[in-house]
C-alpha cells in the first residue's frame, strides 16, 4: 500500500511540475520559432524576433522606464523595509500590531484596489500621472516583501552583538555601521533584488498609474492585441525570463549566505 501510494504521489508530482512549467517552456520555443503565428506546428529556427527587439524603439523606452521605476522602487522600499523590520524586531511601542498590520496590508489587497485608490488621489490632488506615480504604487506593494525579508535578517542577528559593540565603546551609529550593516547586508541585497523583480513585472498598478510614459509590462499588454507582434513579445519574454532567473539565483545565493552567517554566529558549541 505504501509503495503504491508513493508511486502515485511521484507521478502526480511529475504531472504537476509539467503543469507549472508548461508556459515557461513554451516561451523560448516560440521565441525561436520562424513563424508569425504563435501556434503549433513549429516552423523552424530563427533569431529574427530577437533582432526585431533591438530595432523597436518604443520597447527600448519602456525598458528604460521599467529599469528606472524598478531601481528607485527597490531602493525606496528596501529603505522602508529596513525601518519597519528594525522597529518590528527590536522595539516595542504603542500600537505596534496595528501599525505593522497597516504596512503589511498591500500583501493581501487586490492590486486593482491599490491602483484605483492611488489613481483617484493623484488625479484629485491635481498631479500628473508619470513614472513617479508608478514608483509610489510599487513602493507600497514592495515594502511588505522587503519588511518580511529584512525582519528575518534582523531576527537572525544576535542582539548581544549590538550590545557587545556598545560595551566596547561604539555609539549606536558606529555599531550600525561596523556590526549590524555588514551582517544584514546579504538580506538587504536580497530585499533589493526581490523588490526590483516585483516592480519590473508589476502590471496592474503600472497600467492604472502610467501616463504617457509606460513600463515594460504595460508595453507588452499593448502589444498582445496585435497578433503580428506576438513572436517578438515571446522573444522579449525569453530575455526577461533569463534576467529574472539570474537576479533570483543571486538573491537566493545571498539569502543563503546571510543565513549561513547568522547560523554560524548563533552556534556557540564546540567543533
Amino acid at each position: 500500500m505504501m509503495r503504491g501510494g508513493f508511486r502515485f504521489l511521484t507521478a502526480y508530482v511529475a504531472a504537476y511540475l509539467l503543469f507549472l512549467y508548461a508556459p515557461v517552456l513554451l516561451l523560448p520555443i516560440f521565441a525561436f520559432n520562424d513563424s508569425r503565428v504563435v501556434a503549433f506546428p513549429l516552423q523552424g529556427f530563427t533569431l529574427d524576433w530577437f533582432r526585431l527587439l533591438l530595432e523597436t524603439e518604443p520597447l527600448h523606452a519602456a525598458t528604460r522606464n521599467s529599469l528606472i521605476v524598478a531601481s528607485v522602487a527597490a531602493f525606496l522600499s528596501t529603505a522602508m523595509g529596513l525601518c519597519a523590520a528594525r522597529a518590528a524586531t527590536r522595539h516595542s511601542f504603542a500600537g505596534k500590531k496595528g501599525i505593522m498590520g497597516l504596512i503589511m496590508v498591500p500583501l493581501v489587497l487586490p492590486e486593482i484596489i491599490v491602483g484605483v485608490s492611488l489613481l483617484v488621489v493623484i488625479l484629485q490632488a491635481g498631479f500628473n500621472l508619470n513614472l513617479w506615480s508608478i514608483i509610489l504604487g510599487h513602493v507600497l506593494i514592495c515594502t511588505p516583501f522587503c519588511t518580511v525579508i529584512l525582519s528575518t535578517a534582523f531576527s537572525n542577528l544576535d542582539r548581544n552583538l549590538e550590545e557587545a559593540a556598545i560595551d566596547l565603546g561604539e555609539t549606536k551609529l558606529t555599531t550600525f555601521r561596523r556590526v549590524i550593516l555588514p551582517l544584514v547586508m546579504p538580506g538587504i541585497m536580497a530585499s533589493i533584488l526581490i523588490a526590483f523583480t516585483i516592480s519590473l513585472d508589476e502590471f496592474i498598478i503600472a497600467f492604472f498609474l502610467s501616463g504617457t510614459e509606460t513600463t515594460l509590462p504595460v508595453y507588452i499588454w499593448s502589444q498582445l492585441r496585435f497578433p503580428a507582434r506576438l513572436p517578438s513579445v515571446m522573444a522579449l519574454g525569453t530575455v526577461l525570463l533569463a534576467i529574472s532567473l539570474i537576479l533570483l539565483v543571486s538573491a537566493e545565493y545571498l539569502r543563503r549566505r546571510a543565513s549561513d552567517r547568522s547560523a554560524a554566529a548563533n552556534a556557540g558549541g564546540n567543533f
Binding site: N160, E163, I166
Partner: protein, 361 residues
C-alpha cells in the same frame, strides 16, 4: 586596598509589573573576584546589565570608581562585558574581534597589533589572529570574548554566566583559568552565575540574590557555614532542618531543644535574634553528621536512628536516617573509605554531631 570600585545604593528596576531589582545596595571592592549568585529570575543579570549601562535603574545610584554613572551610556563606562553567548562578531577575524574596541583609540597599526598579540597570549590563543571567528569552538570563543574585553583595561570586567555554555570538563578548566587570569591582571571581576559551586570556588566574595534583593554578601566559607537565612541555607549546598525550641540562657550559653537530637547548649551569640520560647529551625549540613560504626565512640553528642533510605555516589554515600523519638529524617553524608561498609536499609545506627555546626533560623 579595600577601596570600593562599585557602589550600589538602593537600586530599583522594574519591567512592567515585575520587580527585577528591589533596592539593591552593595559595595564591590577594588581588585576582588565578586560573584552574583542566585536562581534564575532573581535579578542578578539585570544588576550586571545595570552596572554595564544596558539597563537604566528606575531609582537609586550606581557609582563606579567614585563617579556617578546616572546618564552615562554603556560605551562611556569603565566596564567591559563578557556575554553569555560570547557575542563574537561573526564577520570578523579573531584579531578583528579582539581589536574591535581599540579602533576608537586610534593607536596606530603597530601598537594595535602588539596589544592584540598580548591579549591573545593572555588567554592562550597565540597565533589565532587571522582565524575566522565562525570557526572557533565554544571555549575558544570565550577566550576571544575575554581578550576583547580585557584589552581595553576596564576598571571592572563583567561576566554574564560565561561558563554555562561549556561542557563540564571545559567548565572546570575555565574556572581555574579565569581565577588565575583575574589574579594576574588585578582587574575587578563581577561574575553572574546560578551555579553555586562556580561561585564558591572562584570568588573572593559572593552576593546571593533572591527576588531582586541581595540577601547576603560574604566569603564563600561564611556563606556555607553561616547562611544568613533559611533561603540561603537551602540554596547553598544541602542542609537538614529540624524543629527546635529556644530555652533559657545560662552562663555557658543558651539551651536549645532540638527534636530528635535532644537538648543542647549553644553559644548565646549564635542564638541571638531568637529569644526563649521561640520555635525555630535548627540547620545542620549532612557532612557535619557522622554515622558511628560499631566500635567508634561519639566525640560530642550521639543520637539514635534507623536508615530509611540511601543513595550511593561512588565516593560518598548519603543516608536518610529516621531519628528516634521523632518523625523527622536527616540526611547524613559519609565518605566511603576502606573500613566503612555501605550500610543496608533498616540498620540501626548512632549519629554523631556537634553543637557548633548547628545554625538556627
Amino acid at each position: 586596598m579595600s577601596e570600593p570600585i562599585i557602589e550600589l545604593q538602593e537600586v530599583f528596576k522594574t519591567f512592567g509589573r515585575i520587580v527585577a531589582l528591589n533596592g539593591v545596595s552593595a559595595e564591590i571592592i577594588q581588585g576582588e573576584f565578586f560573584s552574583l549568585l542566585g536562581p534564575s529570575g532573581c535579578g542578578k543579570t539585570t544588576l550586571l546589565r545595570a552596572i554595564a549601562g544596558f539597563e537604566d535603574p528606575d531609582s537609586g545610584n550606581i557609582r563606579i570608581d567614585g563617579r556617578d554613572m546616572t546618564g552615562v551610556e554603556a560605551n562611556r563606562r569603565p566596564t567591559n562585558m563578557v556575554f553569555q553567548n560570547y557575542a563574537i562578531f561573526p564577520h570578523m577575524t579573531v584579531a578583528g574581534n579582539v581589536g574591535f574596541g581599540l579602533t576608537r583609540k586610534k593607536l596606530g597599526t603597530t601598537e594595535t597589533m602588539r596589544l592584540i598579540d598580548e591579549a591573545l597570549r593572555m588567554v592562550s590563543l597565540e597565533g589565532f589572529q587571522e582565524r575566522d571567528a565562525r570557526t572557533l569552538s565554544g571555549g575558544q570563543k570565550q577566550r576571544v570574548a575575554l581578550a576583547r574585553a580585557l584589552i581595553l583595561r576596564p576598571k571592572v570586567l563583567l561576566l554574564d554566566e560565561p561558563l554555562s555554555a561549556l561542557d563540564r570538563k571545559l567548565r572546570e578548566q575555565m574556572q581555574s583559568e579565569l581565577r588565575n587570569l583575574q589574579r594576574a591582571v588585578g582587574i575587578t571581576f563581577v561574575l553572574v552565575t546560578h551555579d553555586q559551586e562556580e561561585a564558591l570556588t572562584m570568588s573572593d566574595r559572593v552576593a546571593i540574590m533572591f527576588d531582586g534583593s541581595i540577601v547576603q554578601i560574604s566569603t564563600p566559607e561564611e556563606l556555607y557555614t553561616a547562611p544568613a537565612n533559611l533561603q540561603v541555607a537551602e540554596f547553598i549546598g544541602s542542609m537538614n532542618f529540624l524543629r527546635a525550641t529556644v530555652g533559657r540562657a545560662t552562663s555557658q550559653g543558651t539551651e536549645v531543644e532540638v527534636e530528635g537530637l535532644g537538648k543542647l547548649i549553644m553559644a548565646s551569640e549564635s542564638v541571638k535574634p531568637h529569644s526563649a520560647g521561640d520555635n525555630v529551625s535548627a540547620g545542620i549540613r549532612p557532612e557535619m553528621l557522622t554515622v558511628l560504626f560499631d566500635e567508634e565512640a561519639g566525640t560530642a553528642r550521639v543520637a539514635e536512628g534507623q536508615i530509611a533510605d540511601r543513595s550511593y555516589y561512588g565516593d560518598m554515600t548519603y543516608y536518610a536516617v529516621r531519628l528516634e523519638g521523632t518523625e523527622q529524617t536527616v540526611t547524613v553524608s559519609m565518605r566511603n573509605t576502606a573500613n566503612r561498609p555501605i550500610l543496608p536499609l533498616g540498620s540501626r545506627v548512632r549519629i554523631n554531631w556537634n553543637a557548633d555546626s548547628i545554625v538556627l533560623f
